[in-house]
């Protein structure tokens, strides 16, 4: 851990007000060496007019970080909430590890931001105390002012210069939760007005003087390359100015997006392809290989006792296979980036979750050093992990380099999105359980067979963490089982893969929580009672790198069940189902779904969710994240990407039936606060709707669905 001395420094010189630089402590994983140098990556600047600018290395993508982080600061610093401005950091020497993902934005900044706010507050008080010649303990703060014992009152802005000269206090006192006036109260997001008036500028809305537009003709098979083409056909389209080749295909550069699209269509008709290594890839072929891998060699992620022997000795054995398909991110804003190239420098505008990588790779494509490329992070029209990738920004740099001239915006269309995503891959799961003579669970095995997302992310390298990453959600099975094995059998694929909201936890928890339901029903027992019993009274339990507090998991399970009226008499044809999970051992969630089948169609009436992610900074933001996470998770019950001859069958939203408003259940959120540190909420709700709904479907109809997506014929 970074020492306290190195965590925070005064950065400002005279005339700049009070500027504090702080160094966010990255979550140090086993085997990594903590940095000891001081590299501040959050800046807090109190200006002389009393306004505060907070520069954070986190990207806003709808999850509300640009509201939650300043709230934490404003609370400790006793600031006027209306006077904080939040800006996105630009990558550079100050911001070396910007990344937004894994539901960590609030948890990783909570303590540093509070300490920084408290430090600034104490320095302001010290400056006022010196002016008034009173003791520090006689001064108080409130809403942007320091208040003195004789009714003195001075605004923070007027104290900024003096405060910067005060010594940095060692251990500034942090507020008690009972004294919070902002944290824990619902706060509307700060940029809502720009959004409802159409003024918010997303990446695709960036307009630079003299800007041109480019569309890419890509091989429908990922990795394929054009063999022959006739650029004249594209050039004949009005507005088209150039056709250039880049590694991802042929770029048609034009005076408008529409002209670029039309030019690209004209070019497509003249182009032949070398489809490359993926040309025979198909879902059917992959399924056959995954099936073989269910019984072949695998890498162990967790083992306790002797599961084979325990299965052998069991008085009853249950076995089932579960299957989850490829998924696409399908952000509503397609990928895009603007690059403006000069002779010694360049500028890039894009919506990215990985600003540092985007900058480095685009600079490299231009033959520049990172510091020669200025990156402007635009608003993201959805991230969900897709914009952790840098393929689209690097591609825009390549286009700018090949085409030359002023700023060029590369625009993907919907088909590009479906055909060239960084996909979440398919997996096949085999689960086996043994029950002893008394009906207790004596053995459990879970084999996950499928592609390794982590390997694809590491450009084909195998990480030592591969098996544990790919079995996340399976290997941290929280139930007490004396003999257990969870392992991963890798099946390589030629398609790009990436992180998708909920990651491997979605398929792994789907299989685990549905299979547990099967066990409960096989025993003729209540699924809630079975879960509570298997969770036991164990408290803190360690799984690999994570440690989970099972009391917190039990609590959310009980709250969700009670609020949903578990065990109540239901309308005819309705069923209730539940699922729970401890996300990375940090955030706890449980959901109860109520469903029925109406005219052969599944209707999800309601999802009741209980979450425990520690203290809640912004309840309005939390509720939105839970609702959004549930809609995202529930959509994956119906959607899939399939492959034939190396191409995705799906090319648009019509083939990928995301949830619409009419299908969205009533969502009820209940919050349990089981610790004093916030732990993140963007992903924890996502894995649970699928198992909760399928378990409810079984309760309603007796049909056990083990293969996704859920198609109308699965209910017939």
């Amino acid at each position: 851990m970074t020492s306290r001395r190195d965590f925070l420094r005064v950065m400002g010189g005279t005339g700049t007000g009070l500027v504090l630089g702080l160094c966010l402590e990255p979550r140090v994983r086993a085997g990594e060496v903590a940095k000891t140098e001081f590299h501040p990556n959050v800046f807090l600047a109190l200006r002389r007019d009393g306004t505060v600018r907070l520069t954070v290395p986190k990207t806003e993508m709808g999850q509300g970080v640009r509201t939650a982080l300043p709230l934490v600061l404003a609370e400790e610093m006793d600031l006027d909430w209306a006077r904080i401005e939040v800006v996105n950091a630009q990558p550079g020497p100050d911001f070396k590890s910007m990344q937004t993902g894994g539901s960590t934005s609030v948890s990783s900044t909570w303590l540093p931001l509070r300490r920084a706010g408290a430090t600034a507050r104490e320095m302001l008080k010290a400056a006022a105390a010196a002016q008034w010649k009173v003791g520090l303990e006689q001064c108080r703060t409130g809403n942007g002012f320091v208040l003195g014992p004789a009714g003195q009152k001075v605004g923070y802005g007027d104290l900024a210069e003096d405060a910067a000269k005060q010594p940095v206090p060692k251990d500034p006192p942090l507020k008690k939760a009972a004294d919070y006036r902002l944290v824990g109260k619902p706060t509307l997001r700060f940029d809502g007005k720009a959004i409802v008036t159409g003024k918010a500028i997303f990446g695709l809305d960036v307009r630079r003087p003299g800007q041109r537009y480019a569309a890419l003709l890509r091989c429908p098979v990922p990795g394929g390359q054009p063999r022959t083409w006739d650029a004249a056909k594209a050039m004949a389209v009005r507005g088209v100015q150039a056709v250039v080749q880049v590694p991802s295909g042929l770029a048609v550069v034009a005076s408008s997006t529409w002209a670029a699209f039309k030019g690209r269509d004209a070019l497509a008709a003249t182009t032949s392809w070398d489809e490359g290594a993926a040309k025979d890839f198909s879902t059917a072929g992959l399924e056959a290989r995954m099936r073989t891998a269910l019984t072949g060699p695998a890498e162990e992620a967790r083992k306790e006792g002797d599961p084979e022997q325990a299965l052998e000795a069991a008085s009853r054995r249950i076995e089932a296979d579960y299957s989850f398909p490829y998924q696409a991110h399908a952000t509503v804003e397609p990928m895009n980036a603007v690059v403006q190239l000069g002779s010694e420098s360049a500028e890039l505008w894009t919506g990215t979750q990985s600003p540092n990588h985007a900058q480095e790779q685009a600079a490299e494509a231009l033959g520049f050093k990172p510091e020669q490329l200025k990156l402007n992070v635009a608003l993201l029209g959805g991230g969900f992990g897709r914009r952790l990738g840098t393929d689209f920004s690097t591609e825009a740099a390549q286009v700018a380099k090949a085409a030359g001239g002023g700023p060029i915006q590369v625009v993907w269309d919907r088909e590009d999105e479906f055909r060239h995503d960084l996909y979440h891959p398919a997996t096949l799961h085999r689960l086996q359980a043994g029950l002893d003579a008394k009906g207790a669970l004596s053995a459990w095995t879970h084999r996950v067979a499928g592609p390794a997302i982590l390997r694809s992310w590491l450009s084909g390298q195998k990480s030592p963490a591969q098996a544990s990453v790919e079995t996340n959600g399976a290997a941290d099975n929280p139930y007490a089982i004396p003999a257990m094995r969870v392992d991963f059998a890798e099946v390589e694929v030629p398609t790009p893969l990436g992180w998708w909201r909920g990651i491997e936890i979605v398929p792994n928890v789907f299989a685990r929580e549905c299979f547990l339901d099967e066990i409960a029903h096989a025993q003729g027992r209540d699924p809630l009672q079975v879960r509570l019993e298997f969770l036991g009274d164990r408290g803190l339990v360690k799984f690999g790198q994570d440690e989970a507090d099972l009391r917190r998991l039990k609590k959310v399970l009980q709250v969700a069940a009670e609020k949903a009226g578990w065990g109540r008499k239901l309308p005819a044809g309705h069923g209730l189902g539940l699922a729970c999970h401890a996300y990375d051992g940090r955030s706890y969630a449980a959901q109860v779904a109520e469903v029925s089948v109406v005219k052969g169609r599944l209707k999800v009436h309601k999802i009741t969710c209980a979450v425990d992610c520690g203290p809640v900074v912004n309840p309005a933001g939390l509720q939105a994240q839970v609702e959004g996470g549930i809609v995202f998770g529930l959509s994956a019950l119906f959607t899939q990407i399939t492959w034939e001859k190396g191409r995705t069958v799906q090319t648009g939203y019509l083939d990928f039936p995301l949830l619409r408003l009419a299908d969205t259940p009533v969502i009820e959120t209940h919050v349990v606060v089981g610790s004093d540190t916030p732990t993140g909420i963007g992903e924890p709700p996502v894995p649970l709707p699928i198992p909760a709904v399928l378990n409810a479907l079984f309760a309603a109809t007796g049909k056990r669905i083990r293969t996704l997506p859920l198609l109308p014929e699965s209910l017939a």
Partner: protein
């Protein structure tokens, strides 16, 4: 090559682009009105929704020819300052997450309430059948429409 006359948010523009250009790209690239979003270009996500003669239409499926001669309203023209009841309801319900799909949703909501000041749940379902929100703001969209229908609070 012909120029086309467009009336957008109460202002007349003459634009010189091909007649088959979808209204969406005229708004975004020619007139610089980027509040109307590109989501699919296939008529199925609703991100590009604008009003044409008071009715909600998809700008990606509306050609310049069809648009010429009608009053076009985009999200930028819905009100001067965000004071349209739908915009106010949207803020009060804190609907937006990433915000990208929201201008289209707001335009559909405004058209729905204009024609049906007191929509039923079924009307709301139908009005948003062609809208995709990947962030999952649907529950709040429903509440915001109901709030706007109940009179701006």
């Amino acid at each position: 090559m012909t120029t086309h006359q467009l009336n957008v948010n109460g202002r007349n523009h003459s634009v010189d682009v091909d007649a088959d250009t979808p209204l969406l790209w005229v708004l975004r690239d020619t007139l610089g009105l980027t509040g109307t979003k590109f989501g699919c270009g296939q008529g199925v996500c609703g991100a590009c929704t604008v009003h044409l003669g008071g009715k909600a239409v998809k700008a990606c499926q509306t050609s310049l020819q069809e648009a010429a001669g009608h009053a076009i309203t985009t999200v930028e023209g819905l009100s001067k300052d965000g004071s349209h009841p739908v915009q106010k309801a949207w803020l009060a319900e804190d609907v937006a997450q990433c915000g990208y799909c929201q201008p289209g949703m707001i335009m559909s909501a405004a058209a729905l309430l204009h024609h049906k000041p007191h929509p039923t749940d079924y009307d709301i379902d139908a009005a948003f059948a062609d809208h995709v929100c990947r962030c999952g703001t649907y529950p709040r969209v429903r509440s915001a429409v109901k709030r706007a229908a109940g009179g701006a609070k």
